[in-house]
C-alpha cells in the first residue's frame, strides 16, 4: 500500500515563492477558461481541500483541485491538461485506463448553409403564384433556401416546441376521481375527531418521456445540420431536464448543455465550438455504439423517444449499424429515423446503412422542410 502514497508525503513546493491562495484562485480561473464549470463558489472548498492534503505537494494540489472543481468524467481530461499547463510538468494523477475524448474548442462555428449565389435558380416561380409565401416556405427543401428565407425558417423553427409523449409517472396528485388516497383520507378522518366523513382520491401525474436527439453532422448532412440543431435547441428549451442532444459524425459529442442558452444563436455557437467533427465523414455505427455504451445502456435511452437524424450514408459495415440499432430499439420506447432525402421524389432507402436500419425503426420521417419538421413534432408527441 505504501507505494501508492509516494508523492503525497514528499514536501516539494509546487511553485516556490508565490502566495498559494493566489496561485490556486488563478488555477481555478484557468480551468474555467478551459471549459470546466469551476465556479468561484467552489474555490473555498479547493483551498480547504488543498490545506487538508498539504498545499505544498503536487499530489495534494492535484487531488484537492480534481475532487472539488470537476463535476463530471468529461471534465477530468480537461483538468489534467490545464493542471499540466498551469503548474508545468506531468500530471501526477494520470491514471491508466481513462481515455476520455477531449473536444478542443474551435474558434468559429461554420453554420452558413450553401451560398446565396448558388440559389439564384432555385425558387419555383410557378408554384409561388397559387400558394401563400408562407406555405411555399414551409414546403421548401431546407438545402435550397436564400439567406432571407433561411432567417425566416430559423425564426419559425425556434417556435416549434417538440416534446415527447407523456407517460404515467410514479407520483400522485389529488383528484376528484381515481384511487382512494389513504394518507389524505386518514388525515381528513383525524381532523373530524376520528369520524369517517368522506374519502379523498388521487390520480397519477403524467410526465413527458425523455427525448433523445442524435444528429448526424457529417458532410453529407451539412445543408440540414443548422435547422436540425435549431430543432434540438427548441426541444431543449421546452424541457431542459428531459431532453438530451448528441451529434454524431466521426465521434459522439453531447451538446445538451450548450443548447440550454435561451438565445438560439448563442446556443448554436456554444454547440458549434463543442463539435469537433463538423462536415467530416460518418461513422454512424461507432458513434451509436459510443452513445449506447456511455449513456444509452445506463438508462438514458430506456423508455425514451429516440430520434436519429441522418441520411444513412454509412462508411462502415451496415451489419454493425444494424447491430447497434437492434440494441437501441430494445432500450427505447420508440425509435424515429429522420432522413432528409426521404422527402425527395424517387427516394428509396437503398443507402447501405438505411436499408439495414429499416427493420428496427418505429417511424421513418423526412425532416427536409419546415412542414416536415412540424410533422416530426407530431410524431414525437404522439409516439
Amino acid at each position: 500500500m505504501n507505494a501508492d502514497w509516494g508523492g503525497l508525503r514528499e514536501r516539494r513546493p509546487a511553485v516556490p515563492g508565490r502566495d498559494i491562495t493566489a496561485l490556486l484562485v488563478g488555477f481555478a480561473r484557468t480551468l474555467r477558461h478551459a471549459g470546466v464549470e469551476a465556479t468561484p463558489d467552489r474555490v473555498p472548498a479547493l483551498l480547504a481541500a488543498a490545506d487538508a492534503l498539504g498545499a505544498g505537494t503536487v499530489q495534494g494540489v492535484y487531488w484537492a483541485g480534481r475532487l472539488t472543481l470537476c463535476g463530471s468524467r468529461d471534465d477530468l481530461a480537461v483538468y489534467d491538461a490545464a493542471f499540466a499547463g498551469y503548474f508545468g510538468g506531468a500530471t501526477p494523477g494520470r491514471l491508466p485506463g481513462i481515455a476520455p475524448q477531449l473536444t478542443l474548442p474551435r474558434p468559429s462555428a461554420p453554420f452558413a448553409g450553401p451560398d446565396a449565389s448558388e440559389q439564384a435558380d432555385a425558387p419555383d416561380a410557378v408554384l409561388a403564384m397559387d400558394a401563400s409565401p408562407a406555405e411555399v416556405l414551409r414546403q421548401r427543401d431546407l438545402a435550397a433556401l436564400t439567406a432571407a428565407e433561411r432567417d425566416e425558417v430559423r425564426r419559425l423553427v425556434a417556435l416549434l416546441a417538440p416534446a415527447a409523449a407523456p407517460r404515467p409517472s410514479r407520483r400522485y396528485r389529488p383528484g376528484r376521481r381515481g384511487d382512494v388516497d389513504p394518507s389524505r383520507s386518514v388525515r381528513l378522518l383525524l381532523r373530524h375527531g376520528g369520524e369517517p366523513t368522506r374519502l379523498a382520491y388521487r390520480r397519477r401525474r403524467v410526465r413527458p418521456r425523455r427525448l433523445v436527439l442524435l444528429l448526424d453532422v457529417s458532410g453529407s448532412m451539412s445543408p440540414y445540420a443548422d435547422a436540425l440543431l435549431r430543432f434540438g435547441h427548441a426541444a431543449v428549451r421546452r424541457h431542459p431536464t428531459r431532453t438530451e442532444v448528441f451529434t454524431l459524425g466521426t465521434r459522439l459529442t453531447r451538446i445538451s448543455r450548450a443548447l440550454q442558452y435561451r438565445d438560439p444563436d448563442v446556443a448554436l455557437r456554444a454547440a458549434g465550438s463543442a463539435i469537433a467533427d463538423w462536415h467530416g465523414g460518418t461513422r454512424l455505427a461507432e458513434s451509436l455504439k459510443a452513445f449506447l455504451d456511455r449513456y444509452g445502456q445506463r438508462g438514458m435511452a430506456r423508455g425514451a423517444v429516440v430520434v436519429l437524424c441522418s441520411d444513412g450514408w454509412e462508411r462502415g459495415d451496415p451489419a454493425q449499424l444494424a447491430g447497434q440499432l437492434a440494441r437501441l430499439s430494445l432500450l427505447a420506447y420508440r425509435l424515429v429515423w429522420v432522413n432528409p432525402h426521404r422527402g425527395k421524389p424517387g427516394f428509396a432507402p437503398l443507402a447501405g446503412g438505411m436499408a439495414a436500419a429499416l427493420p428496427y425503426l418505429d417511424d421513418f420521417v423526412a425532416g427536409h422542410s419546415l412542414a416536415a419538421l412540424e410533422e416530426l413534432v407530431q410524431v414525437i408527441a404522439h409516439a
Binding site: R42, L95, P96, I98, S183, R210, R298, G299, M300
Partner: protein, 298 residues
C-alpha cells in the same frame, strides 16, 4: 470530524482495508477529504466497480451507523424523510375516547391534538434516520434514478442538515452525516447539487488490487485462481463488451469457481461458469469466439 486515528488518507485507507475494502489512493483521498471538510462525496463510475460497497466500508471503518436511501422515480418526502403512522394515531385516538367514556370526563381538545402528533407516531425514513443517528454514513444510491424534484428536495436537506416538520418543529443533526451519493449517469444531476459535493470517478482496480480484493473477500479462493480470474476479467474488459465485468462480477465468478472446488481456471470450467461474469448472450458469444484459451492468457 478530523479527530481520531483517521487523520490522513493513508490511515483511512488502512481502516477501509481492515473493513474488507481495498480502496486505491485517489478514492481514499476523496473519502478522507469528505470527512475532513464535511462535504458530501459524489461518486460516479461503471456499474459493479464498488461505489456502494465503499460507503458501507466507510461506515464500518469509521464506526458509524449506515443508512441507505435507494433512489427511484417517484421517490417523495414521505418515503425519504418521514411519515406519520396513521393507524397508530387512530388507535391512540380511540383509546383516549374509550378512557374518557369510562371516566366520564371529556379529554382536553388541544392536549389530545398535541398527543396525536407526538414523536412516537413519527416514522423516520432514511434521511431523518441519518440526521438523528450519530455518527452516521448516509448513502444516497443511484441519485440519477430519482426525478429532479427530489434532487431539489435533497439539496435542501444536504445544505443545512436539518428538516422542519410542521407539527413538531425543526430537527437538526448534531453532527452532519458523512454523505456518499452515487450515480450511473443516466441523466445529468443538477449543478447546484454537484457544486456542494466532492466529485470522484471510480476506476476499475488494477490487476494487483483486484487479486488482493478477491483474496480478501473470498478466503477460500486460491492465490492462483484469484490471479487467473483477475487476468481473465481484465482481458474481458478490453474486449469491447456490452457490459464489461466489474469487480462485483469477478467476485461472483471467483466465488462460483471456488464453490465448484476449482483451484485453477481451465477453459472447460470457465465456459461452464461464464454466466456468473457475463450477463448478455452477445457478450458470452463474443468471448467464446475469441477463444477460452486466449482469455486465460494461454
Amino acid at each position: 470530524m478530523s479527530d481520531g486515528p483517521l487523520d490522513s488518507p493513508a490511515s483511512l485507507s488502512q481502516a477501509l482495508a481492515d473493513a474488507g475494502y481495498l480502496a486505491d489512493a485517489p478514492l481514499a483521498t476523496a473519502g478522507y477529504l469528505a470527512r475532513r471538510l464535511g462535504r458530501p462525496l459524489f461518486l460516479e463510475g461503471d456499474a459493479g466497480v464498488g461505489k456502494t460497497a465503499f460507503a458501507q466500508a466507510l461506515a464500518t471503518a469509521t464506526g458509524a451507523h449506515f443508512v441507505r436511501l435507494q433512489c427511484y422515480e417517484g421517490l417523495d418526502a414521505s418515503q425519504a424523510l418521514y411519515d406519520w403512522d396513521f393507524p397508530r394515531q387512530i388507535l391512540h385516538l380511540r383509546a383516549v375516547e374509550a378512557a374518557a367514556l369510562a371516566g366520564g370526563d371529556r379529554p382536553d381538545r388541544e392536549e389530545l391534538e398535541a398527543s396525536l402528533y407526538d414523536r412516537r407516531f413519527l416514522l423516520a425514513r432514511p434521511l431523518l434516520q441519518a440526521l438523528e443517528r450519530n455518527p452516521c454514513v448516509l448513502l444516497v444510491d443511484e441519485i440519477d434514478r430519482a426525478d429532479d424534484e427530489f434532487e431539489a428536495f435533497l439539496l435542501e436537506v444536504l445544505s443545512d442538515y436539518a428538516i422542519t416538520i410542521p407539527e413538531l418543529g425543526r430537527i437538526a443533526a448534531e453532527h452532519p452525516p458523512l454523505t456518499v451519493l452515487t450515480s450511473n449517469r443516466t441523466r445529468d444531476v443538477h449543478d447546484a447539487l454537484k457544486r456542494r459535493c466532492l466529485y470522484h470517478w471510480v476506476e476499475h482496480p488494477s490487476f494487483e488490487r483486484e487479486v488482493a480484493i478477491l483474496r480478501a473477500r473470498l478466503p477460500e479462493v486460491t492465490e492462483r485462481l484469484a490471479a487467473e480470474v483477475a487476468g481473465a476479467t481484465r482481458r474481458m474488459r478490453e474486449l469491447d463488451l456490452i457490459k464489461p465485468p466489474g469487480v462485483a462480477e469477478s467476485l461472483d465468478w471467483a466465488g462460483a469457481l471456488a464453490a465448484l472446488g476449482a483451484r485453477a481456471l481451465d477453459p472447460e470450467l470457465a465456459a461452464a461458469t461464464l454466466g456468473a461474469v457475463l450477463k448478455y448472450r452477445e457478450d458470452a458469444d463474443r468471448v467464446r469466439n475469441t477463444g477460452m484459451a486466449a482469455l486465460l492468457g494461454g
